[in-house]
């Protein structure tokens, strides 16, 4: 379409990164980065970062599925979680050792691959797809494996659904606000700032945009967090933690031997039988996964609440030296700090702050 040829694409053809017509079967041909990388490998030299990035980008571009009107792109990095997560769940439900082994492997894998992705393809949807896959997988296991044990009441199921709905609504609104802001700023920043360097606005490489009062970019929600959606971010964390803990409690008290902790609150006390049956094992594994995620989210929530209280955005906090972190960052200059109460009020109340250059407060 760009090169002036008007013929329709066949189902295996597509326009590649440099807008040229290409065919799926030619996927290994004509790739300079691959040639260089293999060349370097054979010669025993180190493959450069630039080379790796080029290679992964080409790989993403060329991995396609035949489709009517031209082959569509499926980036392998977005596809990874959809394959890995169900596989891990299946393997983990075999025995306790498999559970421990595969969850540790997954932890290490995430650490390594996040490093790699941040360097090579920062715009990857890998983390967001991981989040979505986790939600879908956990919910399906709960509804179609745990519920058929006939031990959970309808109102308990509905209560869990409300928590999940709360989480998804917060997530949706959060992303919506971020997109609205980016769309609004696209024109505004060009109008008002005449190329001067601007305080309070921070470029986000992943969003391709300058975000006012940016806190950090959350790869798991694939969204920039700043003042306009910080409150929703905290709320979504809260709902996610609540839903994960509640579902894991329901699951564990169903598949394990429960005891009455206090009045109607049940807790599991003996899970030794869960690996004897596949369904029990799968439910148990999903509950363990939920608890682990909930702990991580809780740590993040605590960190967020602390940073908001002292008035340091996360992106600044990670750059602080260890000595300052040990002093809780209180010994540093904190340009965003307005005092404990006003920090919180700003996040909770000013959900639609005005970002005009005149009354911008920094």
């Amino acid at each position: 379409m760009k090169n002036g040829d008007t013929d329709d694409l066949c189902c295996c053809e597509y326009y590649d990164l440099s807008n040229e017509r290409n065919h799926i079967l030619a996927c290994l041909c004509n790739c300079v980065d691959l040639d260089e990388a293999v060349d370097n490998l054979v010669k025993g030299k180190k493959v450069s970062d630039q080379n790796k990035a080029g290679l992964t980008n080409t790989m993403r571009d060329r991995l396609r599925v035949p489709w009517i009107g031209g082959a569509i792109q499926v980036s392998f990095d977005s596809l990874l979680p959809v394959i890995i997560l169900p596989l891990v769940f299946l393997v983990s439900s075999l025995s306790l050792w498999w559970t421990a082994f595969s969850f540790t492997t997954i932890g290490v894998f995430i650490l390594l691959i996040s490093n790699f992705f941040v360097r090579t393809i920062p715009k990857t949807k890998f983390f967001f797809v991981w989040t979505v896959t986790s939600i879908v997988l956990l919910y399906f296991i709960f509804e179609f494996v745990v519920i058929p044990f006939l031990e959970i009441l309808v109102e308990e199921n509905i209560a869990l659904s409300v928590l999940i709905f709360g989480f998804i609504m917060c997530l949706y609104l959060m992303k919506l606000r971020a997109n609205q802001l980016i769309a609004a700023l696209d024109d505004e920043s060009q109008l008002s700032f005449n190329g001067k360097s601007i305080e309070g606005f921070y470029a986000c490489k992943i969003c391709d945009c300058k975000i006012p009062d940016k806190d950090h970019h959350c790869v798991w929600f694939d969204c920039c967090i700043s003042r306009h959606n910080h409150c929703l971010f905290l709320l979504s964390l809260f709902f996610a933690i609540a839903a994960l803990l509640y579902s894991s409690n329901l699951t564990l008290t169903s598949v394990c031997h429960p005891y009455e902790f206090f009045k109607t609150i049940l807790l599991p006390d003996d899970c030794s039988d869960v690996y004897f049956q596949f369904e029990l094992g799968l439910s148990f594994v999903s509950a363990v996964y939920s608890i682990l995620i909930a702990i991580l989210l809780w740590l993040i929530l605590m960190q967020q609440m602390f940073l908001i209280s002292v008035g340091i955005p996360l992106k600044d906090w990670v750059k602080l030296p260890l000595s300052s972190k040990l002093c809780l960052g209180l010994n540093r200059l904190r340009p965003h700090n307005r005092g404990l109460i006003r920090n919180w009020l700003r996040i909770v109340c000013e959900i639609t702050p005005k970002y005009t250059p005149i009354n911008r407060d920094v």
Binding site: I147, L153, S161
Partner: protein, 307 residues
């Protein structure tokens, strides 16, 4: 407009499918604590024993208390029963004569805990009772219903008016759970800890059942043809329904049980096939029980073993 209607219909369908009540544990109708007292069947013993006065059972139910699970295995004092595990209260004339029938095979540890606990538990209720253990000694899959039939046969011969069909791994946790029969057959273990104290489905009728001996004879006992785990309780429920003896339950506060932990047994594969035939099985039961059994009077229970 049409697409919107279709969408709405799809969403509703998904909602109904997800929150369909039968997919979940059920809320159920139950007899309240006050009414439970009226439902218990009391009968003066046939042979007029000259004792001071009749026993009362009202306070047993009203002073209902929960026993913590941790106390189950603790050895506690109970009066040594007569040979064969029979106990008759001395201080008053009991109006309830119960045989607790326990189908059993190869669960020695659980049996030890169960028997000691039950003597202590039942002696606080002022009832005349006997523990009857029906032990299967062949190598076929466990036939719970058939063992119950053997136990019931003996109990009826010994003139026990109330039968309680009881699994060996169930321990009652509420002192007000009176081990006597009610006007209709009663499902006693409706609030079981392994089911999160919920009822999986409304026709569940396993675990601990109280039924009058007359009623048990009327439905011809349980079917003898269920080998393996499961199915026989559902069949028994259908038999009762067919004879218009619809079972009920007492309030959950009287019906708490805990299950002693054990490894799960493989399920009976032909379970549903048998269930659909159960109405044809109606004749099979107590009166087709031709096999002889021997009776041993142990210290704490009567043992019934088919020969």
């Amino acid at each position: 407009m049409l697409t919107k209607c279709v969408q709405l219909l799809c969403v509703t369908a998904v909602f109904v499918a997800v929150y369909f009540p039968a997919r979940h544990a059920r809320h159920y109708d139950y007899v309240t604590l006050e009414n439970a007292i009226k439902e218990i069947v009391l009968r003066a013993p046939g042979t007029a024993l000259l004792r001071s006065k009749n026993c009362t059972y009202r306070n047993v139910i009203l002073n209902n208390q929960e026993i913590p699970v941790s106390k189950i295995t603790k050895t506690s004092y109970f009066v040594q029963p007569l040979p064969g595990g029979e106990y008759i209260p001395r201080h008053c004339t009991p109006l309830i004569k119960t045989a607790v029938i326990i189908p059993y095979r190869n669960r020695t540890e659980q049996l030890n805990v169960f028997v000691k606990y039950m003597h202590k538990f039942l002696q606080n209720q002022n009832i005349h009772y006997r523990l009857i253990l029906a032990e299967q000694n062949d190598t076929l899959p466990f036939n719970r219903a058939k063992m119950i039939n053997f136990g019931a046969h003996l109990a009826i011969a010994l003139n026990y008016s109330c039968l309680i069909l009881h699994d060996v791994d169930l321990i009652p946790l509420t002192t007000g759970n009176l081990y006597g029969c009610s006007n209709r057959p009663r499902h006693m273990s409706s609030s079981l800890d392994t089911f999160r104290y919920n009822l999986p489905y409304l026709t569940l009728f396993g675990g601990a059942i109280a039924i009058l001996a007359d009623q048990f004879r009327k439905v011809n006992g349980m079917s003898n043809s269920f080998y393996g785990w499961g199915g026989e309780d559902d069949d028994f429920y259908e038999r009762l329904e067919a004879h218009k003896l619809l079972p009920y339950r007492f309030t959950p506060e009287l019906s708490k049980y805990t299950m002693l932990v054990h490894k799960k047994q493989p399920k009976n594969d032909g379970r549903f096939e048998k269930l659909s035939k159960s109405l044809e099985n109606l004749r099979d039961g107590l009166n087709t029980l031709t096999q002889k059994y021997s009776v041993y009077l142990e210290d704490l229970y009567t043992k019934v073993v088919p020969i």
